[in-house]
């Protein structure tokens, strides 16, 4: 099983796409960090030096969720698009093992994206905080919890990509549907209908981050958000395996 996970990670890291997506993810994080730091305290923008501001700042580590999602999508749709799925199943004819390996590999990729985002958040956030006259003691347990949430959300969205890709099989369709959901639909629901939105993966991620809703709606408690994320991951895992295991590969 370990060697199958290694093989899946090797698939991800032997194409250039993963680095492009990581660059985009970090790019968005960087923009968020810089913008929040520069605008801090200006024209009614919340200062980064109060506890909520700090959380908001560090939550930028996870703004690139959608790029992790894309990598998850590619890990399965790429196999169909380039017909490498045949090789994959010839090596490992027990398909549930392939699905399991892909799920674990996706979690690993999410972890990697999350860790990279967090590293960047600290690299920019700590100096920004000091420059703005904040105290490092602001980086407390809440921030640690937030970082765990970023990693969990990244892993979940990568797995979500895998699940959606398994379902749709078409690379472009999966990416368009996924981005449309993450950037538009889900954001709208989370913001406008918090009572629904808090139950969605995006809402659950926000709950784990522990940041407050922009419109004042309430999220689940952090542990509830975490449980929900795990539940979604399990659901997606079931979707991914159910759609991959029985199909004829012709």
């Amino acid at each position: 099983m370990i060697r199958l996970v290694k093989a899946e990670l090797q698939k991800v890291f032997t194409t250039r796409m993963v680095w492009g997506m990581l660059a985009l993810s970090l790019g968005f994080t960087a923009i968020g960090l810089v913008a929040l730091s520069l605008l801090s305290g200006m024209q009614g923008a919340p200062p980064i030096t109060d506890p909520d501001g700090v959380k908001n700042l560090f939550s930028q580590a996870g703004v690139g969720l959608v790029f992790a999602f894309v990598i998850g999508t590619l890990l399965i749709t790429g196999e169909y698009r380039f017909q490498t799925i045949t090789h994959t199943f010839l090596v490992t004819p027990r398909r549930q093992r392939v699905v399991a390996a892909k799920l674990v590999a996706c979690a690993g990729v999410g972890l990697f994206f999350g860790a990279a985002g967090i590293a960047l958040a600290f690299a920019v956030g700590v100096p920004a905080l000091l420059i703005k006259g904040g105290s490092l003691s602001l980086i407390d347990g809440d921030v640690v919890r937030l970082c765990a949430g970023v990693v969990a959300a990244m892993a979940l969205y990568t797995i979500l990509g895998l699940a959606l890709g398994s379902l749709l099989r078409n690379q472009v369709a999966a990416i368009v549907v996924g981005i449309g959901w993450v950037y538009v639909l889900e954001n709208l629901l989370v913001a406008l209908l918090p009572s629904v939105g808090k139950w969605l993966p995006g809402g659950a991620a926000q709950a784990v981050y522990g940041v407050s809703s922009p419109l004042g709606g309430d999220y689940l408690p952090a542990w509830g958000g975490a449980a929900l994320l795990v539940g979604y991951a399990l659901l997606f895992a079931v979707v991914a395996s159910a759609t991959t295991i029985r199909r004829d590969i012709t």
Binding site: A7, K11, Q83, T86, H87, L90, V91, P93, D248, T250
Partner: protein, 316 residues
């Protein structure tokens, strides 16, 4: 035990019965041609054998077991399949390394097999720049990774230039003769494989037409010994006395059935007849193949013209 056994295999895709109760075996150490026109069901049969397609009924076994039950499939059977490709952004070497990792084979096998198929120079190149022939060689390299004793190739000559086909023939014979491999190779063009195979399995429209040795198939097409020379007619009594039947399709030419070329030659020596030609006539193999598979693209034979087409204004 047969290296490969297909037993009453059937598979439908919707209304299309792609494979219909097909059974055949491939003996260890032989090169078997799996022949049939396009759409005959070759790919479906081979993919069922490899666990990629689930048959509706019947079994397809490798060394007596289903593919999904093989502990180390890559070390038992290697496959080159149609409609298989590579991620264009990954290098040839990395493609093979990924498979080595998954199969638990040493990463060094990647470069070894690339060398075997003549791709050592482009091991570090992205597959995007590869020609069809190079991809076909890379596919062959994937099949060789686990040093399997059984190889299954689906239309491997597609996309190869004549030199590539020549190379492939030699390579398959090398695998069979020197490495003791069993090879099952499909093709819709008999001429592509007739120089390479020992046995043939012919299917058409999902049904098995015939299984046998290439010699059996071609002896069916034996059209006698053709002998020509100004005075060949003088051979007729001797040949007929030897039990042969003799036709004279044109003057100065005899067509002898039921006698070996040596018998005819001996007759010519005894009668002191000058010969300009002495040859065993075979019907064109491709023609035999077309007759057997009933390929609609085959040129019409001298059959009676169907009545329908003679009726003016008849529905056709």
């Amino acid at each position: 035990m047969a290296a490969i056994e297909i037993r009453n295999l059937s598979k439908s895709f919707g209304a299309v019965r792609a494979v219909d109760d097909v059974s055949f075996t491939v003996e260890a150490g032989t090169v078997t041609g799996f022949l049939g026109p396009n759409g005959a069901g070759k790919t479906t049969t081979l993919r069922s054998l490899l666990g990629l397609v689930t048959p509706d009924s019947g079994e397809a076994l490798i060394n007596g077991r289903g593919y999904t039950d093989l502990a180390a499939p890559l070390s038992e059977v290697g496959a080159v399949l149609e409609a298989t490709s590579f991620h264009p952004g990954r290098t040839a070497r990395n493609h093979l390394r990924v498979l080595c990792t998954a199969a638990g084979l040493p990463a060094a096998r990647a470069d070894q097999t690339l060398g075997q198929v003549g791709l050592a120079d482009v091991a570090g190149k992205r597959v995007a720049g590869f020609s069809l022939g190079m991809r076909q060689r890379l596919a062959l390299a994937t099949a060789l990774l686990g040093e399997p004793k059984i190889l299954i190739l689906d239309e491997p000559a597609n996309g190869l230039d004549p030199a590539g086909i020549q190379w492939l023939r030699g390579f398959l014979r090398f695998l069979a003769d020197d490495q003791g491999c069993t090879v099952l190779v499909s093709s819709h063009v008999l001429a592509e494989v007739e120089q390479t195979v020992d046995d043939v399995v012919i299917i058409a429209k999902g049904r098995l037409i015939r299984q046998g040795t290439l010699a059996e198939l071609t002896s069916n097409g034996d059209r006698g010994v053709r002998v020509s020379g100004p005075e060949v007619e003088r051979l007729r009594p001797r040949l007929e006395a030897a039990g042969a039947t003799v036709e004279c399709p044109e003057s100065g030419v005899l067509l002898v059935h039921g006698a070996q070329p040596e018998t005819v030659g001996q007759a010519a020596l005894d009668e002191l007849v000058v010969l300009s030609e002495l040859v065993r006539q075979r019907s064109d193999l491709e023609q035999v193949f077309l007759e057997l598979t009933g390929d609609p693209a085959a040129p019409p034979g001298p059959d009676p013209v169907p009545a329908l087409t003679e009726t003016p204004g008849g529905t056709s």
